[in-house]
Assembly symmetry: C2
Homo-oligomer: 413 residues x 2
């Protein structure tokens, strides 16, 4: 089975508000495709299959069947296979998995993967309710204002119960993401103000939204799309030749992992308590996705990575990711935070892009945006948020309350 | 690349009304899984990946992330990869494509594919509006009562314009589907009354709902789920050995095709008119999916098939399918209908199960139900609707107004 390469792509400016611009979700799709074709100099007629990752366009924009909608971009796309894939906030990553598999199975040489979400069409309360459909809605979200901050607030409380958790460590995660985002010209919060002192404050500007979770701990409500091209070794070789670059300079998917936990957060809590007794990492599906990716990539662990783009839908999910990637033993993520390891100039930078908190979180686009950012890092195209010399970057895309977990490791030789 | 086998599965009784029973969509998922495990004697711990096909549970039941929800069936499923796939009414088929690819790529030996739709939770007008999200909602469905009957009514008008179309031929399609459904113990309409005379009538019992489309030309609004198991050659061999049957008796996916047309029906009409001038079939993406499936299966065409389970969301879509499968030249489907070729005892039976009109159309489940019915036919498990000696059965699952087209050919040696 040959390698699957990533030829680059494009993302929209995550600070834009498409409803205010009066633009339809189809415009967002067309624009991200336009950008991706222009950036890579790939022609529409070369694309053999398109996969769209999207969480809930039916709710936000009253539009389904997005896989087919992308065909309107160009007549040369007529007749190709398309589909939309969903795993809540991990929709972008599961679309990528589907595309990779088609190439591995030998059906196509060039596949486009698009992640998209149009979220600012509704008020925040309605949007919070829609996001509740990523949990077990009837049991965990119905009638609850902003169910997800509350669920990830509970993850903080769980850490506090099992290991102790100081709020200042969450605040540091928030501050790093906001600081990194200032270096990212497409980040939603690039012009916002946020510091650790601000994150540690409570009151008017930073109210509690669920347990330990304050406003500063939350990712953003974002409109945006991202697109990447996946290619077989054959196509990547031709692509490299045409551009007069060695194949070794083109990033490929070194490894991946995909593991699901039960949908209900309460079931995760029960298991976490059992695992805590055994001294193991408390989110076994998250850990499994990471270990599977390391194994497939032939890596020992975090020590072989140069950066991580992780799913910080809330600071607590990044807190968990830090240790589940193996940067620290269970319960000790705070040490890596205190020692500055996850800073952009640290031992293993987390979210040089600013992540979901800083760069923004257009739900179905996030998994694709993370892989695009990994591509930018390993090709030295990350501009001001470049991690020097990055050759291997991992992404973790999470759907629901750490329910669907998808990891990709993107690298160059 | 080894063959991908189908080990059987299960479907719920499509006549049931789950809202009236007071049961959640999770109950539908658990029940279809229970049935599939029991029917095949496969254990949950053997399943390595699960794919869910679903159109719009977010709208009908306010629940997303169905891929993860299925994990609640059994603790042995914890940690496996899951995802949900959508291509409007072709969601079940695109979920099957994703599962097949994973096996072909060598990642897993046993994959479960589940199609599900819970539709009778809302009144028919609301449901009709939800279905409009499978079209280009803003342009083709917004503010229109029952947009899909109108779109497929236009397909009838298009045939009438290009070739002439007599309503009696559509009525015959309806009557055959209803008649076949009477032999199917899980068909929604098995106890309903419908004849060709009735279908040809107009007025109180059979009103026009869009152009040539009358009530009798429409598929049903259905609650239901279907599940199948896909297996690698290695797993299928062991499975056959344990059950003391030859591997040759286990059906496999001989071929498949997947092609998308532009979402807007008007774009299809323009192209159809051009193709009519050239004497070609008027729905090129539908034709492409069928030809690709023939090619991959190594079949010459319709003459090598024993039956077809096609997507008769309306009689006009079956009318188009009859000729696009190549049973007749373009514009001559009526001849095959008049000559009785598509009857259950005809040259090439269409929808021995009763299809979407007779058996029912739980949108996201249909593509999986079709493949399960193909499996039933080629394993001689179709009971009263068995097509004698069937060895190769094709399925056509369509999303939108003939937008996403997915064909599978299921066969035994």
């Amino acid at each position: 089975m040959g390698r699957v390469y990533i030829l680059g792509g494009y993302q929209t400016d995550f600070a834009r508000n498409w409803a205010k611009e009066g633009k339809h979700i189809s415009a967002m799709l067309m624009e991200v495709m336009d950008g991706a074709f222009a950036e890579t100099q790939i022609e529409p007629k070369e694309v053999e299959s398109i996969h769209v990752g999207n969480f809930a366009a039916e709710l936000y924009t009253k539009q389904g069947h997005l896989g087919a909608m992308v065909l309107s971009y160009h007549p040369d796309l007529k007749g190709i296979p398309t589909a939309r894939h969903e795993a809540a906030c991990a929709s972008g990553a599961v679309a990528t998995l589907a595309g990779r598999c088609e190439i591995e199975a030998g059906h196509y040489d060039l596949v486009m993967v698009i992640g998209v979400e149009y979220m600012r069409s509704v008020d925040s309360k309605t949007g919070g309710d829609y996001l509740g459909t990523a949990a077990w809605y009837e049991k965990e979200a119905k009638g609850i204002s902003f169910p997800f901050p509350k669920l990830f607030g509970k993850l903080g409380e769980l850490y506090d119960e099992l290991y102790g958790l100081k709020y200042e460590h969450l605040a540091e995660i928030s501050a790093i993401n906001y600081a990194n985002a200032k270096k990212n010209p497409l980040a939603q919060t690039r012009d916002w103000y946020m510091s650790k002192a601000h994150a540690c404050s409570t009151g008017g500007y930073n109210t509690s939204v669920g347990g330990m979770i304050r406003t500063s701990d939350c990712s953003q409500v974002t409109d945006g799309a991202a697109a990447i091209f996946l290619a077989s070794q054959r196509y990547a070789q031709e692509y490299a030749k045409k551009r007069n670059i060695p194949l070794e300079k083109i990033p490929y998917i070194m490894g991946w992992g995909h593991a699901t936990a039960p949908l209900l957060f309460e079931e995760k809590v029960e298991e976490a308590r059992r695992l805590r007794q055994k001294g193991e990492y408390i989110l076994p599906a998250t850990r499994k996705a990471i270990l599977d990716a390391y194994r497939r990539a032939g890596l020992r662990g975090a020590e072989d990575l140069d950066a991580v783009e992780t799913h910080d839908c809330f600071t607590t999910s990044e807190y968990a990711a830090i240790e589940h990637f193996g940067l620290t033993p269970p319960g000790e993520a705070w040490k890596a935070i205190e020692e500055g390891e996850i800073r952009i100039d640290g031992k293993l930078p987390f979210n040089p892009s600013g992540g979901l908190i800083g760069a923004g979180h257009p739900v179905g686009a996030t998994g694709v945006r993370q892989i695009l950012d990994a591509w930018r890092q390993v090709t030295e195209n990350a501009g001001d948020y470049q991690v020097e010399g990055a050759k291997r970057v991992a992404t973790l895309n999470i759907g629901g309350s750490a329910t669907t977990n998808v990891v990709h490791i993107i690298g160059v030789d």
